[in-house]
Symmetry: C2
Subunit: 327 residues, 2 copies
């Protein structure tokens, strides 16, 4: 089994958090992990293999420039290991643009893919997540790209959750086909008129913002500008509400006592709503499995990212996407 | 004191709910209310004045067409009462497009306003709401319109919350000025270079989706497509999480017992997060106060809408917006 390459230098919490996650993933999941980065920063790899990389692309750095200039950056090297067949997938919690750029440059696009897209699972309490794409790779999109996002998203949903012909919705501001931006109207026409067999999913028409966190749709397609704003709005709301509920539970002595019963019952819901649970976003459309985790990824987020990376390799994600786009 | 005209026929819950809200508003707030609609459907007005209107524009109807054809529709008549000086403001929980169209046609735009925009308060636990605009009036926008949205939103925030020079942010997918869509980049340049005194608020640059439900910004400007999706995503998330937390509180006998302490403590948070609390959205840029409430508006939502309408009349909202746009 080829290892999963983990960019040890990425993430707001620093290499120790990432390395701890990688070590835990290797021991809990039995999945080999290759740590990519500065051996000094990595410290004790706990028996994991290290690929030394002398450079780091920081969170705020311009991705396009730095990916080209810093050829020995950990995230660039991680992508390289996949292309060279030394690793089966890459995971990075660093600069999103740099991870995307590294994957694009080193793994390359799959044949026929116009633009890779970031696919992010949105938690839905009591149900499978909704996969949203594009969650931020392409601020400006064309209708034909959105059709490919639908194909790639459906392939991913089937590969990850085992659901054949998932429901695909187009994010808009009204359910009627005539509602929305010119891009949405054009995409709607293409998806509605197209051979739905070629989609790999069932096109259910327009969906709205409140459908994202519902079980009414499986895959939601939109441009990267709208997708990123919707996703961050949801993540922000989940965090604010979790903190607000927790503050109430801790607000009085009586509440704290009552919470002794309720906190263990609320914990699974909190986990379900925590983006760390989902292992991060996938960059779909490149020739390799590339997982981009939150900058704030904790140890458990890294474990989940490695698990998803491993699952997606085992489930032939890249081949599924290749076939979906070929049509 | 001129009455607030309430479209008695609008809303998913039907005239009885709206009429109950109007009656409660009149008695609790001491604000006169004029009910507009079919007297038979209205039933007992509880002493409130009725303006008979024989037609109704249903939720699903095409707004542009029906507003022109149904001259005796309740929502059209409600807007007319404001233009004619028979009411000081209108409130509708019906078809959003029809309320907007009626206000535009009957009240007209303020001089210099390119496009009216829907301004919606987003709850922020423990803080003043964030006002988002445009929340759906204009699916496609130009940069100059967004600059006007900033001016109108700042004027509204000051009028409603008494905060001088509120912080105005531009919704984007990265905080750097160069991040976002072409529309965002162009708008950013206009807002950053413009005379900030003319804005009526302080431009703090780009903000992201997770800033909407935070106290980092007061007024968030975006196009109506993005704004509507972000708003509905947040409303959906708030509803899903409220239901999920409530389900946990009711999940076992022990939890139910513990909830006896916690539910009363959670109630203020639930109210804070409930859009009904905020009285609905305002259509800014028309020559009159026009409040558009949720289709699902309850009695208490109608009471709050009448309260906000009354406050906005008392606080000279329309003059504030007029001055803000004139610059």
């Amino acid at each position: 089994m080829l290892p999963i390459a983990v960019d040890a230098m990425g993430g707001d919490l620093g290499p120790p958090e990432i390395v701890a996650g990688a070590r835990q993933a290797a021991s809990e999941l039995g999945v080999p992990v290759l740590l990519v980065g500065d051996p000094d920063a990595i410290g004790d790899p706990g028996g994991l293999e290290i690929l030394a990389a002398s450079e780091v692309i920081a969170m705020g750095e311009d991705a396009a420039t730095s990916v080209r200039r810093k050829k020995d950056a950990s995230v660039v090297r991680a992508a390289e290991t996949v292309r060279e067949g030394r690793a089966s997938a890459m995971v990075s919690a660093g600069n999103t643009g740099a991870a995307m750029g590294s994957a694009l440059l080193r793994m390359g696009r799959l044949p026929g893919v116009s633009r890779p897209a970031i696919a992010t699972p949105i938690p839905v309490p009591g149900s499978l997540p909704t996969v949203l794409l594009d969650a931020g790779a392409n601020a400006e999109c064309q209708a034909a790209w959105l059709v490919q996002f639908a194909q790639m998203g459906a392939a991913y949903f089937t590969g990850r959750y085992g659901v054949e012909a998932p429901r695909v919705g187009l994010l808009s501001i009204g359910e009627e086909p005539g509602k929305g931006s010119p891009l949405v109207k054009e995409t709607h026409a293409l998806l509605a008129d197209g051979d739905s067999a070629g989609l790999g999913g069932r096109f259910i028409g327009n969906v709205e913002g409140n459908d994202l966190m519902s079980d009414r749709v499986d895959v939601v397609v939109t441009d990267g500008f709208t997708g990123n704003i919707a996703l961050k709005a949801l993540e922000g709301a989940a965090g604010v509400m979790r903190d607000a509920v927790f503050a109430v539970l801790m607000s009085t002595d009586e509440a704290i006592k009552a919470s002794e019963v309720l906190l263990p019952l609320l914990a699974p819901l909190a986990a379900e709503l925590d983006s760390d649970t989902y292992g991060g976003a996938l960059l779909l459309g490149v020739d390799g499995v590339c997982i981009i985790s939150h900058g704030s990824s904790s140890t458990s987020a890294v474990v989940n990212a490695v698990r998803v990376a491993h699952d997606m390799v085992a489930n032939d994600l890249v081949d599924r996407v290749r076939q979906a786009v070929k049509g």
